[in-house]
């Protein structure tokens, strides 16, 4: 094991291989098209020549003498009987042929023109032009150089055309690759620079191949099937074709066969070599496998999502990782993750053996790979000796291996509580999609996580799976702990607010606890507080006939920092015209002073993810550790209180009195009649046309507006009978789950179904369904659903509702792929930008993108909802002791973070929920 300062690759230079180089680096000349002899041994000078490397274990490479995995493989080469054009460079070759003289080979530019080019080139260098600019410039230069008569020797030029993919013609005459090569050879090195070619890296004649490198066998291993048949790699197949034709071509040429036959074979060789490079070249049929599947040749191996670059180089499969279904566990801290024992026994952490830990580790090894203890105890899977040998620990050899351990050994220990792991859910759209957790080994087969981390991962428990990676080095562990731990990511860099926070039942729980003045007796109070860390039962608020009683607000205050103070409006606030503040009869004005909740209800606005104001302030003022503690405590308390209070919702929550149902029916009936009246008016041409709209459009707008109002009206009527004491309403209003719209659709009326923002219209000729008359423009005929989810839909309504639902599904499917691709492009464009020491943002070329990051240098994560500083808070801090001034300022308040209710993430949710589960992430539409 070598350690120390790691080496870095300084740079990588790209260049073309010359035929000489190809031959020089070749370990074996390949001549025969056969691969193996009858005994199954590779044939010398064949494509599987043992000089090219080893793929079978146990054998040694004939070139370097190493074994499998040690020998990198060696190139071979094929001498081509006739030169062949490289498909990737046809455009370049065409450019070169057109821009240079056919007889003297010079670039057809006179001195002045060359000078113009030089000056442009210098300009680019000064201004930091990139490869694209230079490519464009050389393209233009090549165009300028297309002349009738060579300015150097006066030869008249003929027109060169390219017959795709690889045939060049001069005035209709075919140019053989040999002729092309001769011309390219004539181009002097100094004329290449203006054409965008570096003469030191690439001579143009090398673009016509005379020798073909044969990749090592390690690049194209053959697979032995169960039936002990060999199945060759696609590249090998293609090379066999090349060799076969090459051989025939050589024989025919040497035997003096007719020109026609030689030319045909030559073209066939060109085809095989073309498809060997790129099997998707336009204009020629792709080479196919016997089964009819197109072969995967060189370009196909590299490009696209499954190609070498994106699939194997930019991303890799890794060891020490696990994946399984996730499930919730409110008992865990947000920083923790529950790992099933089974997984913990496979995932290991390397531990260096030192004098100090020798004995403990020996004991550990003695336990072997599967200790059968009830409280889980970590064992050891492997022991690594200083020479790098890995010894697998088994139950049998555990004792003996344990005795051999000395300092400088490394043992691979099972996961145990407190280990640092990375936890990830795909799609990994932002940095909060991969965070560091500490391990809690648990029975069961699923990963367990705290509910508060669901929003950043965008996880739920309907079968979601997540990945877990065990970090393997001290550096990685340190970085993970300091930078990636969950508690460090409570604030989102997207909008400077908390992204990790309470959800669903947590919010219902605190709502039930703190709304109005709910009283709890000693037993209840203790039950609520039992799971909370570091608290004591506060003094009771008052005595009752049942003994001492505590208010919910008092209980909640126990987990607030002692000097905490904040004022804001809760989620249940009804936005009255005149705010009565502390005296709000809805209990929606939250006021906390000295860590005591004086008034108001704790709901989504206080502790929810995205919106939680208390959470936000604690994270900012007391640090992430305190925030973690608060979150853990508040969620445990919420679960406790929801259990004490009891909470249940069902379809009977949407029950409304018969009177109201009738009212809704009447109202809807009126609305439908109104639509009929509008349609009548439209048919008689009495409708008042809206400016810039046709009659028909005017009708549609009017109808939509009418029916929209009707739905809202129905919701309002139903809402009157649904008070906050109703469980479903409590959830909707406190922001725990669902919305009032959902409720009014259940209790009142579902409303108009739409596709593409219009009333339903497609289906049959002039009607949506055969249940209606042709040309019926009424409400029901075009998708208005008068029923509620609770009352049930008629068959036609059900059909219409499905139409609307389908659009939502299609929408999400399309959206995920489109937005995924957009994000990939954004990342690719912005990944290199870095904030330098001087506050500028620069790219890798060191050009300045921003002189001052964001014009004020403020980190969006630490910003206060985008503002550099929280002025209100500063004023409070500084003027805290001068209550009079503060009151004046408060009175004057022109708006600021504390008063302007900016709703983060208000919408969007709705649609996504309705559309149901989102399909797996995939990138779409590229190349």
């Amino acid at each position: 094991m070598k350690r120390g300062v790691s080496k870095r690759i300084g740079s990588i230079k790209f260049a073309c291989l010359s035929p000489d180089e190809i031959r020089k680096m070749s370990a074996a000349k390949i001549i025969t098209a056969d691969t193996y002899d009858d005994d199954g041994f590779p044939i010398e000078m064949g494509l599987m020549d043992p000089h090219l490397g080893v793929i079978e274990p146990g054998l040694r490479c004939k070139t370097c003498g190493h074994k499998v995995d040690e020998c990198p493989g060696h190139f071979g080469s094929i001498d081509l009987a006739m030169p062949v054009i490289h498909v990737g460079y046809v455009k370049e070759i065409k450019k070169l042929l057109q821009a240079t003289c056919k007889s003297c080979g010079r670039l057809m530019l006179n001195e002045d023109e060359v000078k113009v080019f030089r000056s442009k080139m210098d300009q680019f260098e000064e201004l930091g032009g990139d490869t694209t600019d230079i490519r464009e410039l050389s393209k233009d230069t090549a165009k300028d150089a297309q002349k009738q008569i060579c300015p150097h020797c006066g030869t008249e030029q003929k027109k060169i055309t390219l017959d795709k993919p690889t045939t060049f013609r001069e005035d209709g005459h075919k140019l053989t690759p040999k002729e092309v090569r001769e011309r390219l050879e004539r181009i002097p090195a100094e004329d290449l620079t203006p054409l965008g070619i570096d003469p030191l890296s690439c001579r143009p004649e090398w673009m016509i191949l005379t020798a073909l490198p044969v990749p090592p066998v390690t690049v194209r291993p053959s697979i032995t099937l169960e039936s002990s048949d060999r199945s060759e790699d696609d590249l090998t197949h293609k090379l066999v074709d090349v060799l076969r034709i090459n051989q025939r071509l050589r024989e025919n040429r040497d035997a003096g066969a007719p020109q026609l036959i030689v030319e045909d074979l030559w073209e066939l060789l060109q085809y095989h070599i073309t498809t060997y490079f790129d099997n998707q070249t336009s204009g020629i049929p792709p080479a196919r496998h016997r089964s009819g599947r197109p072969l995967k040749t060189l370009v196909q191996r590299l490009k696209g999502k499954e190609g070498r670059f994106r699939s194997n180089l930019s991303g890799k499969r890794v060891n020490f990782s696990a994946r399984t279904v996730i499930s919730p566990d409110p008992g865990l801290s947000i920083n923790e993750v529950g790992v099933p024992e089974e997984a913990a026994r496979e995932l290991t952490v390397p531990v260096n053996v030192t004098k100090a830990n020798l004995e403990t580790l020996k004991d550990l090894v003695k336990r072997g790979p599967a200790p059968s203890s009830d409280p889980y105890l970590p064992g050891v899977n492997y022991v690594i000796r200083p020479d790098g040998r890995r010894i697998r620990v088994t139950d049998k050899n555990a004792e003996t291996v344990a005795e051999t351990i000395e300092p400088n050994f490394i043992i691979e220990r099972h996961l145990k509580d407190g280990d640092v792991v990375l936890f990830n859910r795909q799609p990994s759209l932002h940095r909060m999609s991969m965070m560091a957790h500490t391990v809690r080994v648990m029975p069961g087969k699923t990963f367990r996580l705290n509910l508060c981390v669901c929003p950043p991962y965008n996880a739920d428990f309907d079968g979601d799976e997540m990945n877990l990676h065990v970090v393997q080095s001290e550096e990685a562990r340190a970085e993970a702990m300091i930078l990636m731990k969950v508690q460090e990511h409570i604030m989102s860099p997207r909008f400077g607010g908390p992204i990790i926070g309470a959800i669903h039942d947590h919010i219902t729980g605190t709502f039930l606890l703190t709304y109005q003045n709910r009283k709890f007796d000693r037993g209840q109070a203790l039950a609520i507080l039992s799971k909370v860390e570091n608290v004591q039962l506060p003094e009771p608020d008052f005595q009752d006939k049942n003994g001492p009683m505590w208010t919910g607000k008092n209980i909640f205050s126990t987990i607030l920092p002692k000097d905490f103070r904040i004022t804001f409006k809760a989620s249940i606030c009804e936005k009255c015209n005149v705010c009565r503040k502390d005296k709000c009869d809805k209990d929606a004005y939250v006021r906390i002073r000295n860590g005591q909740l004086l008034a108001g209800t704790i709901d989504e606005k206080a502790i929810g993810s995205f919106k939680g104001r208390i959470l936000d302030k604690i994270t900012r003022d007391y640090g992430s550790e305190q925030a973690r503690l608060f979150l853990d405590n508040v969620t445990r308390m919420a679960i406790g209180s929801i259990m004490v209070c009891g909470f249940s919702t069902g379809i009977d929550d949407e029950d409304i009195p018969e009177e109201a149902t009738r009212q809704i029916e009447d109202m809807l009936h009126g609305a439908v009649n109104e639509v009929d009246r509008l349609v009548e008016a439209y048919k008689n041409g009495e409708l008042e046309q809206m400016p810039g709209r046709s009659m028909r459009e005017t009708l549609e707008v009017e109808v939509m507006r009418n029916l929209g109002n009707a739905r809202d009206e129905a919701g309002k009527i139903a809402g009157k009978h649904l008070g906050i004491e109703n469980a479903a309403v409590a959830m909707a209003r406190s922001g725990a789950r669902g919305s009032m719209l959902n409720l009014s659709q259940m209790a009142g009326c579902i409303g108009q179904q739409a596709v593409r923002g219009e009333r339903l219209s497609r289906g049959y000729w002039n009607r949506t369904l055969p249940h209606f008359r042709k040309g019926d423009l009424g409400a029901q005929a075009k998708g208005f659903v008068t029923n509620s989810y609770k009352s049930g839909l008629t068959p036609t309504e059900f059909f219409f509702h499905s139409m609307g639902g389908r659009e939502g599904l299609v929408d999400t499917a399309v959206r995920t792929s489109r937005s995924g691709y957009m994000q990939r492009r954004l990342i690719s464009a912005l990944e290199d930008l870095k904030l330098k020491q001087d506050g500028t943002v620069r790219n890798t070329a060191d050009s300045i993108i921003q002189y001052h990051y964001g014009e004020d240098g403020v980190d969006p994560t630490r910003s206060v909802a985008g503002e550099a500083v929280d002025v209100d808070d500063i004023l409070m801090d500084v003027l805290g002791d001068e209550a009079e001034l503060l009151a004046k300022i408060e009175e004057k308040k022109v708006g600021g973070y504390a008063t302007v209710e900016k709703d983060l993430m208000e919408t969007g949710e709705e649609d996504a929920e309705e559309a149901g589960e989102e399909p797996e992430f995939e990138t779409g539409g590229e190349e």
């Binding site: 740079s11 923002g757 954004l826 790219n843 300022i889």
Partner: protein, 486 residues
């Protein structure tokens, strides 16, 4: 450009090697060398003679002053009011109040570099209340303290954070292309398609739109007047003001002008006639008879007749090109013209139009007419508006970074293979993004060298990236005790 290229460029200029080494140790670009003062060059360890030579070879005429950064010019107080015949709208450029100026001065005296926005917020909050000066100072100090606390750390990967912050909410946006914005009559692309459009730097947005404000304070409150201007901007075709009939028997076309509609569009039959006469192939064929324009076909062919009908119907009589529809709507206390279709250059030439506030959603047009800085602002505004409309909060700094990157080169570049990603300096990064083979082949041809400065290329070769903790190197040699060195 990377250091190597810079050195190469200097070499080509004819400088000798020792000088190049000295220069490249201090500067990164030829421009920087050119604009460097003598003092700076001497600091780089060059003697008088060498400096003269550099100036001569690089073609610097005289010692130039150090070019001031963008920051300086941006943050500068509004210089002189530019001479224009309209007033600066107050809402656009907020004048500093006296109190604010006083606070700014105070902050300067205390050597606190606070952003203007912070100062003005504080000012607006405490202005008019008698806060003792000591307290005000304390407030400023505290604000500065917090401001520094909230500043971004060096080596932070600002780009990736921005990209994620804009990309992530993309999944939550609607796909519905059409939506109604403000004016019910005009459809505007919103949501994800619009965001993609902005980032793509498309030449023409799928639904071009303009908001036209009027400069005259009285005019803009007068509904009728605004309506008239709107009708002047809107393209009017002959088909809109007349019924076109084909007279088959006499092989002629009758354009029956509608008096009412003519009046609405402030047109006279003569004008329409003149316009029709100008059409290609109809020079002498059209005659005005009362309110009917008769067009005789020169050749007796139905096809020709039909062609003429089409030609006449779509003939533009007045209005601005591209503006298909103009609708007025009251916003606040003034009427604003909203148009479908966009043509900023021509609309700005309409005398009544307020050139300050009138805007279009076509970023390319803004770039063409008003320049890059305007285009930059327009990208920020449009992207922010699009996200905001969907109820998604994204910090403006992220959007600014994207916009700045798109416009950094002086023109609007797209995010994607034709823009920024296709122009990266690293071959590997480009190959890993899209069109892999072409980039690799081209790199071999030009002998490109990948210096492995960026993220993608370092990941590909398997070494730490140069951002965040990877940007700093910490070397630690542990003291080995009791163990022999291997």
């Amino acid at each position: 450009m990377a250091k190597k290229d810079f050195e190469k460029a200097l070499q080509r200029k004819g400088l000798d090697n020792p000088t190049i080494v000295k220069i490249s140790a201090k500067f990164n670009k030829i421009d920087e060398v050119k604009s460097a003062t003598k003092v700076q060059l001497t600091e780089a360890g060059l003697d008088e003679e060498a400096i003269e030579k550099i100036y001569e070879l690089l073609g610097v005429k005289k010692v130039k002053k150090v070019v001031g950064g963008k920051k300086g010019s941006k943050k500068a107080e509004p210089v002189e009011e530019p001479k224009m015949d309209f007033k600066m709208p107050l809402d656009k450029v907020k004048q500093q109040s006296d109190y604010e100026r006083k606070l700014t001065k105070m902050a300067q005296d205390l050597k606190l570099k606070l952003p203007r926005r912070v100062v003005s917020t504080i000012a607006s909050r405490i202005e008019g209340i008698e806060v003792p000066e000591a307290k005000v100072k304390a407030i400023l100090k505290k604000a500065y303290e917090r401001y520094v606390e909230h500043s971004m750390d060096a080596n932070e990967s600002a780009g990736i954070i921005a990209a994620q912050s804009i990309g992530e909410p993309g999944t939550q946006m609607t796909m519905r292309t059409f939506h109604y914005a403000g004016v019910a009559e005009i459809n505007v692309t919103l949501g994800l398609p619009r965001l993609i459009e902005i980032v793509d730097a498309r030449r023409v947005p799928s639904t071009p739109m303009m908001n036209i404000y009027l400069s005259d304070e009285n005019d803009r409150k007068d509904r009728e007047k605004v309506k008239r201007i709107a009708s002047r901007i809107e393209t009017t075709t002959v088909g809109e003001i007349a019924d076109i009939e084909t007279d088959m028997t006499n092989m002629r076309i009758l354009v029956k002008l509608d008096e009412h509609r003519l009046e609405q569009h402030e047109l006279t039959p003569e004008e329409v006639h003149a316009r029709i006469s100008k059409l290609r192939g109809l020079k002498t064929l059209a005659e005005l008879q009362d309110n009917v324009i008769v067009i005789n076909s020169e050749e007796p062919s139905f096809k020709r007749l039909q062609n003429i009908v089409d030609l006449v119907r779509d003939a533009k009589i007045k209005g601005v090109d591209q503006i298909v529809r103009a609708i007025i709507k009251k916003t606040g206390d003034e009427y604003v013209i909203y148009t479908e279709g966009s043509n900023l250059r021509d609309v700005l030439n309409v005398p009544e139009v307020d050139k300050r506030r009138t805007s279009t959603n076509s970023i390319q047009e803004i770039y063409d007419v008003l320049g890059v800085e305007a285009a930059r602002q327009s990208i920020i505004d449009e992207a922010y508006k699009t996200l905001d409309e969907q109820g998604l909060t994204v910090d403006i700094r992220h959007i600014m970074l994207v916009s700045d990157l798109m416009t950094a080169d002086g023109d609007v570049k797209a995010i994607g293979r034709h823009g920024i990603s296709g122009r990266k300096s690293s071959v590997l990064a480009r190959a890993a993004f899209e069109i892999t083979a072409a980039h690799l082949l081209h790199a071999a041809l030009t002998g490109e060298e990948d210096h492995l400065d960026g993220v993608a290329e370092n990941i590909i070769v398997g070494q730490p990236v140069t951002l965040g903790t990877g940007a700093v190197n910490l070397v630690y040699t542990p003291v080995r005790r009791g163990l022999n060195n291997d």
